[in-house]
Every structure is written in C-alpha cells, then in structure tokens.
C-alpha cells in the first residue's frame, strides 16, 4: 500500500469554486478519486452534506449528487455523444428531467449537439472535454469535481472551458477544481488549497494565493 496523500483536510462550501493546485504527483488526482470513491481511503473521513462517503459503494456516490469530470476525460470512445450523455444520467429515473438537462447541456455546448450522433472517440480533445463536462452535468449534481479540465487544450479552448466552469457554477453547482494551470484556476476560485507531496501546505482565497510569494514562485512562474 502506497500512501499518496496523508492527513489532508479541506472543505468546499455550497456554491463555491474551490481549487486544489499542486505539481505533478502531489496527490491531486488521488484526492479526487478518494472523494468519488474510485479509491477507498485507508483512514479518514469524507462527508457530503453530513453523509459519510467512504462507507458508500463507489457507484452509489453519484446518486448523492456528486459527479466527476475525470482526468484525461475518459469519455466512452465507442459510444455516440448522445449515448455518453445518457450514461451520465444513468443513476437518474426522472425521464423528463433528463431530457430537459440534455437540452441544457446542448445549449451550453452547441458543438456537442452538432455531433450528437458521432462516436465520442472521433471528437477533438476540446470536444471530448466538453463531453466529459456535459456528461457529469447530466447527473444533475450539486457538486462537480473537475480533474485537469484544461490539460492538453489550446489557449483559446482553455479560456472557453474556464468560462463554462464559471457559468456552471453561477447556476448553483458547486465546483471542486484540480488544475495545473494555477493562474487560471486561482483567477476563478473563491478559495484555494496548495497540495505538495500529499500534504496541504497553504490555503486562502483565490486572490490571496495568487498574490502569495511562495505560490507565485512555485506555480505561477515568478
């Protein structure tokens, strides 16, 4: 058993955008996976609105209102865009609500609507990222975890993705954002934490950390 993260503690309040920044291997993805249940922590507690998540089977966590946009998008390449979105709503039973949310996702990402019958594997990287985000929204989550949503995208697309994150948040969805693009992430975050080799070393509001000397040196290139 390798301990990737140890003794970290942080909170995300209703309606916030909170970002977790840190270098490669700091434990950001492990933290995300522990919350969404893909790995079960050896010890400790993760709660959502007072419910202990570590005791719930991984596939039930999305029903609790927590969805994840995983690192590397992980869309289902051999299914169509529409099928991917439908899978996002797998845990839901309200047919009408699902259809309404599908329209809402298509409004947010018009390009997905154009390509709804195309296999997800044939989409560009940016479109796949949009699909992964849309798929997470289809679960009608109260909080979305986003793991490196800007990774590998052109600067123009990065701006688009960050705008959309803000729009999603403005509609009432809480966002926990993990990013290597610390500058962008801190610019939209209410609060932020710095994760270094499995520990949280700094925390504060987005603007406080953006102005912090240590953060500037380590993550913002001076």
């Amino acid at each position: 058993m390798i301990e990737a993260i140890k003794g970290i503690s942080f909170e995300v309040r209703d309606g916030e955008i909170v970002t977790l920044i840190g270098a490669n291997g700091a434990g950001k993805t492990t933290t995300m996976h522990a919350i969404s249940g893909l790995v079960k922590p050896a010890a400790g507690s993760i709660t959502l609105d007072g419910t202990e998540l570590t005791k719930i089977p991984s596939h039930r966590i999305v029903e609790m209102g927590l969805a994840q946009v995983p690192e590397g998008r992980r869309v289902f390449a051999q299914q169509t865009v529409a099928e991917n979105l439908t899978l996002g709503a797998y845990a839901r039973k309200d047919k009408d609500g699902i259809e309404k949310d599908m329209e809402e996702v298509y409004r947010l990402f018009p390009r997905l609507k154009e390509r709804r019958l195309q296999m997800a594997g044939t989409l560009s990287g940016g479109e796949q990222q949009m699909l992964a985000m849309g798929r997470a929204l289809m679960a009608k989550p109260s909080i979305v975890l986003m793991d490196e949503p800007s990774m590998g995208l052109s600067p123009l697309l990065v701006s688009e993705i960050f705008n959309i994150i803000q729009e999603i948040n403005s509609k009432g969805t809480t966002v926990l954002l993990v990013e290597q693009n610390a500058k962008r992430a801190l610019a939209i975050a209410n609060r932020a934490y710095v994760l270094e080799t499995g520990r949280i070393t700094l925390s504060g509001t987005g603007s406080e950390l953006a102005a912090d000397e240590r953060v500037r040196k380590a993550y913002l290139g001076g």
Binding site: H59, A77, L87, Y90, G121, A139
Partner: protein
Amino acid sequence: MQFISYLINGLGLGSVYAIIALGYTMVYGIAKMLNFAHGDVIMIGAYIAFFAIMNFGLPLIPAVLLAILACTVLGVVIERLAYKPLRQAPSLAVLITAIGVSYFLQNGAQLLWSSSTKVFPAVLPSGSLQIGDLSVSWLTLITIIVCVLVMAVLTLFISRTKTGRAMRACSEDKGAATLMGINVNFIISVTFAIGSGLAAIASVLLCSTYPSVYPTLGSMPGIKAFTAAVFGGIGSIPGAFLGGLLLGIIEILAKAYISTQLSDAIVFAVLIIVLLIKPTGLLGRKLSEKV
C-alpha cells in the same frame, strides 16, 4: 448440390459454435477474462435438459427453459464464488481458476451422474426439407434460425437498452462507468448470466445433433467456440457470430473434401493463419489509447 448441402450443414454446426462463442466473447469483453469453464456449463445444461425430459417428462420448451435457468444461476454463482474474489489478481490466477472450475464441474458431473454416456432424446423434429435436389434437415434449419434470433435479440439488447449501454461502458472503462453510477459487479453478473443462458440453448442444439451426454461433452465444442471467438476477434459480438459460422463451414468442408481425421487440425491451421495475418481476429480492433 453436394457443396451447397455441405455449406448448409457447416452453417448449422457453425451456429452452435457462434452461440457458445458469444459467451466467451462477452465475458472477455467485459470482465477481461477467459472463462474456460464455459464449455462445461454447456455440459451441465445438457444434463439438466436430459433429466427434465427423461425423468420429469417435461416437453421440449419447458425443458429448455429449465436448462437456461439452471445454467444462468450456475454462471452467476461461478462468477461470484470463483472469479469475483480475484478481480484485482493477475490474469494468470484467474485463468488457472477457470481451468480449475472446469475440472470441478466435469468431476462433479461424473460423481453425480457417472461417466457413462446417456443418449439424448430426439426432441427436435427429425426428417428434412426437400427443395429440388437439395435436402436440409429440420434440425440444421432450426439451429440456424435459433442462432440468427439469438444474434438479433442480443444486438438489440446491447445497442438499445440501458443495461446494454452500461455493458458497453464497462467494456471500455470500468472506472468511468463507476463514476456514471453503474454497478460494475452487477453488469459482470448480467454478462455471465447471458453467456451461460446461451450455453444452455447451445447444449440442446448440440445434443440434438450429437445425442450423447457425458461429463466431458463440453470440452471440444468449448475449445472450438473459443477458437471461433478468437477467429472473429475476441470481445466483438459480430466477430463471434462470423467466427462461429466460418469455423463450422471450414470444419464440414474439411471433413467432406480433405479428411475426417484431419478436420480439426485444418480448423486450427486456418486459425493460426488468420492470426498471423490479423492478430486481432477478423473483426477485432486494436483499441488505441487516447490520453
């Protein structure tokens, strides 16, 4: 005419292989394991159908349904007890366990029902259909029709239903499927249930053609169907269908025109040649990892 009649017989045999191959290919596609006990589930299905007809006097359809039910339960139980605990284990451990389960079922059958051969009753219509010079046995025709029906229903199920979509999602990425709220263990159980239920259907078709029931009856058809699955591209459902049919045709033609003794060797030689030219099988595709 002779050739066409061989071809149709080949399709009939191939249909049985195809139905069995579906079980191998679906389990491989979703659980990423080779279930070498699959052939022995056919054997259990044959015994259940045999006893249902001979001892309980059930008509054909209820007997087949009973065999399907028994094999479905058996498949799910095997997966739960033998394979599920090994989910994180290296694939070699799972493979050896599957071979162990296979021996367990064969020896269990021998213990319960003895190793002596039982004669499977002729429950499917005998005789044949005469079209001009061509004579096709009803049994062959029924086998082909059942295979086409199975394929059609399965394809619709996989492509149109919620569970079908979830199965495809699990075959691509179990982690991402879990994030969608899909219970991967449940989907694996469903896959074993479908594969084993199909094995029961295959057992009745097989034992109607070769009416002997004995504890190792599943071995050879199991190996052949596994070959068919690899031939067509393991993990691919249309591949199992195509591979099964082609394998049956090759086997019958080899028997008719080359040599009865060498027919199996010829079948495997064709497999080797296909794999040398296209290592993923006829319809298998190499998944490119996109990062």
